[in-house]
Assembly symmetry: C2
C-alpha cells in the first residue's frame, strides 16, 4: 500500500473512533460543537497513527481495543493547537485552512474547548481495553508528555524566546519539548499498549525523539517554503514573529540536511534494535514526515 493510501485508510479508522467518542451532545451544545469543529478540521492524524503502527510493530493484534488511547493522543494534540492559536499565544487566525477555534467561537469558548478536550482525553483513555497496570503506564506517559517537561514546557520557552539571539541550545530545547517528546510519547504509548519488551520501548523512545525533532525542523522549513493554500495555516509567521527556528539559526540547506540525517538515524534504530519486528509501517511514516518538504 502506498503511504498516502495507508495514511488515508488509518485516518478513517481514527476518525470513526473519534466520532463515537465525541458525539454531538444536546447540552452544552456550544462546547461540543467547538470541540468537534477543531477535532474534525482535517488533521492528518499522524500521532494516533503512530500509536497504531508502533502497537502493530511490537506485536499488538487488537487495534479495536486500543483505539481509545490513540484518540486520547489526538485530543491532546488538538487541545494544544487550540490554545497555541489563541491571541495571547501565537495569535493564529487560521488552522488547517479554516478559521481557528477562537476565530470561530470566540476566545472564552476556545479556551474551554481546549480544556474540555484535555479532560476528555484522560476520560477516554480509561476505555482502552488493556490491563489497569498498562492504562496507568500510558496515563503517566501522556500526562508527563503534555506537562512542564513536555509540550507545555516547550511552549513556554517558545513564546518567551526570540530569534534575535541565535541560541542553539534553547532552540533544541523548544523543539524537542514542544514536538519531539509528543512524537516519541506516541510511539512509547503504542509499544506499551502491546506490552513490548523494555529494550524495545527504550529504542522506540530514542527513535521517536529523533523523528520528533525532524518533524519540527520540517515544520519550520515548510513555514518558509509553503503558501497559505498548501499549508492550510498562516505562513511565514515564524519570521514575522521572530521565532527561534532551525532555518533562522542554521540556514535552510543545513536544516534540510539535519532533518534527513535524523530520519536516517531513526530508521537505523528501527533496523538494528527492532530487527525481529516488522517496522515497515513505521519507516514509511517516518519518511513521509520528513519528505513533506518536497
Amino acid at each position: 500500500m502506498k503511504i498516502k493510501d495507508f495514511l488515508a485508510h488509518n485516518k478513517k479508522i481514527i476518525d470513526s473512533a473519534l466520532e463515537e467518542l465525541l458525539p454531538v451532545k444536546a447540552e452544552p451544545e456550544l462546547i461540543t460543537e467547538a470541540m468537534r469543529y477543531s477535532i474534525f478540521a482535517g488533521g492528518k492524524r499522524l500521532r494516533p497513527i503512530l500509536v497504531l503502527s508502533t502497537y502493530r510493530a511490537t506485536g499488538g493484534k487488537k487495534i479495536d481495543q486500543i483505539l481509545p488511547a490513540a484518540c486520547a493522543v489526538e485530543m491532546i494534540h488538538t487541545y494544544s493547537l487550540i490554545h497555541d492559536d489563541l491571541p495571547a499565544m501565537d495569535n493564529d487566525d487560521f488552522r488547517r485552512g479554516k478559521p481557528s477555534c477562537h476565530k470561530q467561537f470566540g476566545e472564552a469558548i476556545a479556551i474551554l474547548a481546549g480544556d474540555a478536550l484535555f479532560a476528555k482525553s484522560f476520560e477516554v483513555l480509561q476505555k482502552t481495553k488493556v490491563s489497569a497496570e498498562i492504562i496507568l503506564r500510558v496515563n503517566k506517559m501522556l500526562s508527563s508528555t503534555v506537562g512542564v517537561d513536555g509540550i507545555i514546557g516547550g511552549q513556554v520557552m517558545d513564546i518567551t524566546s526570540s530569534s534575535d539571539k541565535k541560541d542553539r541550545k534553547l532552540l533544541k530545547y523548544i523543539h524537542t519539548h514542544k514536538t519531539g517528546k509528543f512524537i516519541s510519547g506516541c510511539m512509547v504509548i503504542g509499544a506499551t499498549l502491546a506490552n513490548a519488551y523494555k529494550n524495545e520501548i527504550a529504542a522506540l523512545k530514542r527513535a521517536g525523539d529523533m523523528l520528533g525533532l525532524a518533524f519540527q525542523i520540517v515544520d519550520d522549513i515548510l513555514d518558509i517554503k509553503s503558501t497559505k493554500k498548501t499549508l492550510g495555516k498562516s505562513v511565514h509567521k515564524d519570521t514575522d514573529k521572530k521565532k527561534l527556528t532551525y532555518p533562522v539559526v542554521y540556514g535552510l540547506e543545513e536544516s534540510i540536511k539535519k532533518s534527513t540525517q535524523l530520519l536516517e538515524k531513526t530508521i537505523a534504530v528501527f533496523n538494528e534494535e527492532l530487527r525481529f519486528r516488522d517496522t515497515t509501517e513505521l519507516e514509511n511514516i517516518a519518511e513521509f514526515i520528513v519528505n513533506r518538504i518536497y
Copy 2:
C-alpha cells in the same frame, strides 16, 4: 478541635504535600513560578480536605498514601480558577487578595500555567498508593468531574447566560455543574480511595451534590454581602456582569433559606445513610461551608 483549627491543621498537611509535588524547578522557571504562585495564593484547601475527611469517615487509615490524590484535586481547582479569571472569561484582576495569575504573569503564561496544573494533576494522581483499579476509578471520576459534564460544562453555560432571563433551570444547571459536581466528586474520590461500600459512595455523592449547590449559593450571597478586603477577590462582580445567581433569581432571604435547607439535608444523609461511620468531620466542614455567610 474547633473547625478553624481543624481546617488550619489539615491545610498544613495539604500544603506540605503540594510543596513536595510542585517543587521550584530550574527550567522552565517561569511556568513553575506561575503554577506555584496560584497554588500557594492562600486557598482554604476545602476540596482536598473533603477528600481526606471522607476517606477517614469511610474507614481510610493511611492519609499519607492518598495525599497525592487530594493534591490532584486542588491542582484541578486552581487550574479552573486561573482560566476562569482570564480576560476572555470572567476577567478578574484579583484572586485571594492578590493579583490574579494573568495580571502577574501575562495571559499566555496564565493559560499555560492552568494547562500545566491540569496535566500535573493527572500525573501526581498516579503517585497515590492504592491499587491500580482504584487509581483508575479516581482518574475516571476526576476527568469526568472537570469535563463537559462537570466544571467546564457549567462554565460554558455561566459565560453564555445572563441575569436578564431569570431561568431557574439554567441557574441550577450552572451551579450544580460548575461547583456542585466537583464538591461531590471530592467526597466520592475520598470514599473510593478508602474502598467504601457502593451504597456509601452513592449516599456521599447525593450529599455532596447538595452541599456543592449550597456552597455555590453561599458564594453568590458573599459576592453581594462582602467587601473586597474580607473576600480577597473582586466583589459585586456578579451583579456588574449580570450573572445568573441565586440572589438575583430568588432574592437574598430565600437564597439563605435554600442554602440552610441544603445543609440540613446533607447532614441528614450523613446521619442516616452513614450512621455506622463517624461523620463528625464532614458535618463540621459542611456547616463551615454554609455558615461562611455570617
